[in-house]
């Protein structure tokens, strides 16, 4: 964060020039955009599949991954992606034998999450207390992104989007009606595993930028807002991506001109939008007679 606050001149052109004057801001905007596109698209499926808790757990596991990589001296990205992929496999395996419906599954997910965080804390303690790095692992380094990181992110995002496009149709089918999809010969178990791995990938990439605790601002809230607005798949996906991008740009822009952290602005903007949309929809539904078959 710049120690000297930039002044807002209320002239859009000069403000924009000021915003893109420093390379760290340009890189933050590039990385934020890439992450927003990926998180918006993957998040839409996550909300649809009601795997928010699993996604949250994956994002938490990014923290021990990064802490462990720091401890051993590996590159951070390696820790993020390794831990998230491992956790996705564990989640896919653990949710089946635990059985006993959703109750057993959520207990298993919660346990994985708590253990992962405990492990992260252990790594940080063993690393003999570099507390500053702990904070940036948890809350992200929006403004410290290098050009090389942007490059890596771009490749990861491209790979994730290609996979998502490839499995999109059957995944949508399996998510909306698992029983019918299974009957029609769609490999739902394999798709669930593939999606968890994809989610882990997206979360790991996002966590590198926003920190483990704030992944949700881009992954859940834009997708939840989009699903409030439309139930059509293509439109919803596009809307989710657009909202995630808008929130990231605005958050970065505001944070540049204010003393508070980027994470706070991004989460507040996306949550404010979500609340506004829900309120507006509730008011609309009240002021106008209910059409047949409309959801409340």
């Amino acid at each position: 964060m710049p120690t000297e606050l930039a002044a807002l001149s209320w002239n859009p052109v000069s403000d924009f020039e000021q915003l893109t004057e420093f390379s760290f801001m340009v890189q933050a905007l590039e990385a934020g955009t890439i992450v927003a596109v990926m998180a918006g698209a993957v998040g839409w499926f996550m909300v649809l599949r009601r795997q928010t808790f699993a996604g949250h757990t994956l994002s938490m596991v990014a923290f021990p991954g990064a802490a462990g990589a720091t401890l051993v001296g590996l590159p951070l990205a390696f820790g993020y992606f390794g831990a998230c992929a491992a956790a996705a496999l564990v989640l896919a395996a653990v949710s089946r034998p635990a059985g006993a419906g959703r109750a057993g599954e959520s207990a298993a997910i919660g346990t994985v999450q708590a253990f992962g965080l405990g492990l992260g804390f252990l790594f940080v303690t063993l690393y003999s207390g570099q507390l500053n790095s702990l904070e940036s692992l948890l809350f992200g380094t929006f403004l410290g992104i290098t050009a090389a990181q942007v490059q890596t992110l771009l490749w990861v995002a491209l790979a994730a989007l290609v996979v998502l496009v490839a499995i999109g149709r059957p995944l949508l089918f399996a998510s909306v009606d698992a029983a019918v999809a299974r009957a029609a010969g769609v490999p739902t178990g394999l798709l669930a595993l593939a999606f968890l791995l994809l989610l882990g990938l997206a979360v790991a990439a996002t966590a590198e930028i926003t920190g483990a605790l704030l992944v949700f601002a881009l992954l859940v809230t834009p997708a939840a807002t989009a699903q409030q607005l439309t139930s059509r798949a293509g439109l919803g996906l596009a809307l989710s991506v657009a909202l995630a991008i808008a929130v990231t740009w605005l958050g970065l822009g505001i944070a540049y001109f204010s003393p508070y952290a980027v994470g706070f602005w991004v989460t507040s903007l996306s949550f404010g939008l979500y609340v506004a949309v829900r309120l507006a929809l509730a008011l609309l539904a009240r002021s106008r007679p209910q059409p047949l078959g409309a959801a409340a």
């Binding site: 708590a114 804390f121 939840a224 989460t267």
Partner: protein, 272 residues
Amino acid sequence: MFGHEFMRNAFLAGSFVALACGLVGYFVVLRSQVFAGDALSHVAFTGALAAAAAGIDIRLGLFAATIALAVGMGLLGERARPDDAVIGSVFAWVLGLGVLFLSIFTSGSSGENGTAAVRVLFGSILGLSVGDARLAAVIGLAAALALLLIARPLLFSSLDPGVARSLGVPLRVLGVGFLALLAVVAAEATQAVGALLLLGLLAAPGGAARLLTDRPWRGLALSAAIALGSMWGGLALSYEVDSLPPSFAVIGLATAAFALAAASRYGTRIEV
């Protein structure tokens, strides 16, 4: 080990916190409210940091924030049960607020404030004073007793809400009351194991007990016993092994108990 005052305090506070977590956690798992418990633990983090930023007692912020959110969720929950996405959206924002308070707090005062956030997130059970430990024990005991008091109707309404309602069990009061109780336990446990690890003490013993037995009272006792065992074992382990933080040792043991329970269940393959 018990020659040290801080170990005695840790055992006193830890025992009652674990007892309360084990009992409440069994119902949390039974009612599929693990995600809600997770949200409460994050709110505890924000509440504590808000109190720290405002310069008032951290405990006040903890209790105020968690109870307010729990009652809010409970009141919204009965009519339109808040789904995953709602809880997720709310606490993404709550965490963002936590970041804001953290930045206010760290820029407001200099010095060892970096450790304050770590203490809230990961707990500091070995740093409790006698007064803190006694207070934690009293609150833990009170929460455990309160839970046992409502356990029978709560069990009924968790397992079969429809029949319970028709027999005149006040579902809504019970649901909100239970969430408030969960909030008290969460706020208290945050000081022992930290906001981020609290979930392990809630989910793992309850989940393990549910896998091991289908009989509710036995499960409740088992859940409390696993939580207590993890707490005692974890404290003793971290005393013996130098660089092992106590909160990790406690959570590690609870996770091991859950993994063993899941493995035993996997072997027998009980039809659900």
